[in-house]
């Protein structure tokens, strides 16, 4: 096997190491370079997960393969930022599917100064090069210096010399073969780890843990999600920060209900109110986000003269700005700060500020079984009572129940047989999708009707714009009807014998 081509060396060790190397091999400075680069990814590391590294180097965006380091695409970057929509065409097409709704943000900025050292033969011909780079990482005011990185650059026709240089380096004390890429090191220097955030919940529990401990773990994890997303919500980097933030709030509220009594009752009551407040504070912005995200689809549905929706779009955008300003104020309020501080003390891992509640000593396995059985029973019961004559509210209520079941299954996934658990989630998601379509179209319809009223009052709105909204409402009504018709089938599938036996097997069969 050939010697590695890349090495690291602590700056302090280099003085001695280089002396040793120079004794065995003549190296002379050929050039010096200064380079700045910025690594970009989404908050949830979508590029990293897809096997890419994206760097902004000088005026260029370079997309490379994470494993091999080879550049797979390159495009000129216009303005310092490379937000989702502003990615140069070539990269946008390639990455759209990976990025989804998420925006790109800087994960680490690196300033490197490099020295190119040349190894020369008796004719003073360069036969191999050694590039030594000294990099500094900047991130949100943090500054860190990385170890020196050394890379041997072979020259065509002179591979033997490069191998010799590599061997010399490998045999020098303090010089180590490289074990992580510049990207990984730079990210680590910012205090993060590639892939450290995902919107998926992954909790490691076992059945014998007390409900008191398990509940605190759940609450802590969810609070971390809220904290991690807060800045992105405030800065409105993309709509997913708020989405994930809200899911964490909703999961917390659901846990406060389903795991009631794991903490002292008065404390739970107080935080139930606090998290309801927080959830409500985020709702207007999220609804408007969803509406704006739907616009491309709206435009498609009303067809040709899609410009007719522009007055509506302007109104919704305006509303959204205002709602977001209110949300920002709430997230900076003392009420919010107190909530975070006190809640985090109450659910602390080592030194919680409160003791266990009335059911705190029950084992979480036992409680999880009971709660999943109960909520599943309610879903089955409520769903079977719904027929064509039932009011829309009954479907909304069922949707809430389904969400509760979903959260319970997600909190406790580590307690159950994985295959069974997965099949149940699949069935549940199908039902939730149908209920979601039904409710979302309804919420949108009502919102559109309200906006239409307001545009009408504003007088100067062109008739075409109102007509377009009318057409859109009709389309949504249609979709809602379809969802309603499909409900019966979806539900009977979920409530079928096969799934029922899965449900009972889940909470009875011990893995």
């Amino acid at each position: 096997m050939s010697a590695p081509k890349e090495f690291t060396c602590a700056a302090d060790d280099w003085a001695r190491a280089s002396k040793e190397i120079y004794q065995r091999m003549a190296l002379s400075i050929e050039a010096e370079q200064v380079r700045s680069l910025m690594f970009l990814d989404t908050f949830d590391w979508r590029l990293y997960r897809a096997g890419y590294v994206l760097a902004h180097v000088d005026d260029t965006l370079e997309l490379s393969d994470r494993e091999t380091g080879t550049v797979v695409a390159r495009a000129a970057a216009h303005n310092g930022t490379a937000m989702n929509g502003e990615l140069p065409g070539k990269l946008r097409g390639r990455l759209a599917g990976v990025l989804g709704l998420r925006a790109l943000a800087a994960v680490a900025s690196v300033d490197s100064s490099s020295v190119v050292l040349a190894a020369r033969n008796d004719d003073a011909k360069t036969v191999a090069r050694l590039v030594l780079s000294d990099s500094r990482v900047d991130h949100g005011g943090r500054r860190a210096t990385l170890k020196y990185r050394l890379s041997v650059v072979p020259l065509r026709g002179y591979d033997r010399h490069a191998s010799r240089l590599s061997e010399e380096l490998a045999g020098t004390a303090g010089v180590e073969p490289i074990s992580s890429s510049l990207f990984e090191e730079a990210v680590a220097a910012t205090g993060r780890r590639p892939g450290d955030y995902t919107s998926k919940l992954s909790l490691d529990l076992n059945r014998d843990v007390s409900t008191y401990d398990a509940a605190r773990l759940i609450y802590r994890t969810l609070l971390q999600v809220m904290n991690a997303n807060r800045a992105g919500v405030v800065q409105e980097l993309d709509t997913e920060y708020l989405h994930d933030f809200r899911v964490a709030v909703r999961r917390t509220r659901s846990a406060l209900k389903e795991l009631a009594g794991s903490l002292p009752v008065e404390l739970e009551n107080r935080f139930r109110d606090e998290f309801r407040w927080l959830g409500q504070a985020t709702t207007p912005t999220r609804d408007l986000d969803v509406c704006l995200l739907e616009f491309p689809a709206f435009r498609q549905r009303v067809g040709v003269s899609s410009g007719d929706l522009d007055p509506l779009h302007a109104l919704v955008s305006d509303e959204k700005r205002r709602a977001h300003a209110r949300l920002r104020t709430e997230l900076r309020s003392t009420r919010y700060q107190r909530l975070c501080k006190e809640w985090s003390r109450a659910v602390d891992a080592e030194a919680p500020s409160t003791g266990a509640g009335p059911v705190g000593t029950t084992s979480i396995g036992e409680l999880a079984d009971a709660r999943i059985r109960r909520v599943a029973r309610h879903v089955l019961r409520d769903g079977s009572r719904i027929d064509d004559a039932s009011p829309a509210e009954s479907l909304h209520d069922l949707r809430k129940r389904c969400k509760e079941l979903r959260y319970l299954l997600e909190f406790f996934s580590s307690l159950y047989e994985p295959k069974l658990h997965r099949s149940l989630l699949v069935e549940l998601k199908a039902l939730q999708l149908n209920l979601g379509q039904f409710q979302d179209t309804q919420v949108q319809r009502h919102a559109l009707e309200e906006y239409a009223e307001r545009l009408l009052e504003a007088k100067k709105t062109p008739a075409a714009a109102l007509l377009a909204i009318g057409r859109l409402v009709a389309v949504l009504e249609d979709q809602q009807r379809t969802a309603r018709t499909e409900f019966a089938d979806r539900f009977s599938e979920f409530a079928g014998a096969k799934n029922r036996s899965r449900l009972s097997a889940l909470t009875e069969a011990r893995p």
Partner: protein, 255 residues
Amino acid sequence: MRTVATYSIKGGVGKTSAALNLAYLAARDGQRTLVWDLDPQAAATFLFRVRPRIKGGGKALVRGKRDIDDAIKATDFPGLDLLPADFSYRHMDLMLDDAKRPTRQLGKLLKPLSLDYDLVVLDCPPSISLVSENVFQAADLLLVPLIPTTLSLRTFDQLLGVVAALDGRRPDVRAFFSMVDGRKRLHADIMRDLPHNRSDILKASVPSATDVERMGLTRQPVVVSNPGGRAAQAYTALWQECHDALFGPGAGTAP
């Protein structure tokens, strides 16, 4: 991939000096460039500080028995590689003569390099031989240094005649004045009396300059050793014209 050859029947007129400087300028513009030193005297190879030896000998290479890739050497300049000369090249005529189509053999050898290079510069020995016939077939542009004398102009016209009589593919032939001595009346007269419409004589001319002479000592293109000098400026202007002749006027430089 385009191919330019610095060529002249006469020796010592500035072929190698031009080949080196132009190749360097092309590489600096971002063209992946290969110089093939076809001269057994190995001047270009020496100037790039590479050993004038091809592993396994020139014969196997020229006959296509050995992969050309293995013989290529990086120069000290990014994007600029060299296919070195070998002493055995003095028998290149005989080596070529053994090939199936003796006048097309060089072109055939160059073909597979088109993935790796944007430009090949052939530095030729001074002669008219089977090697030069091969060069005429392989090159897109024949670049001929002329020392401004009436005799050299006549020789150039003869060369044009030879090329025009070739079968099939013919290179574009352009001359440039080389080693121009401003103090020599003859040089000034010849250049002034040249008909203005001779598009086959390039506008840029290379002055006689000590920094070019010193290339044998510095072993660097003058564009590197003395970038502000008159010779460097002349080669830069010459490269611009060659670039246009090879890639079309106004064509951007390679990525």
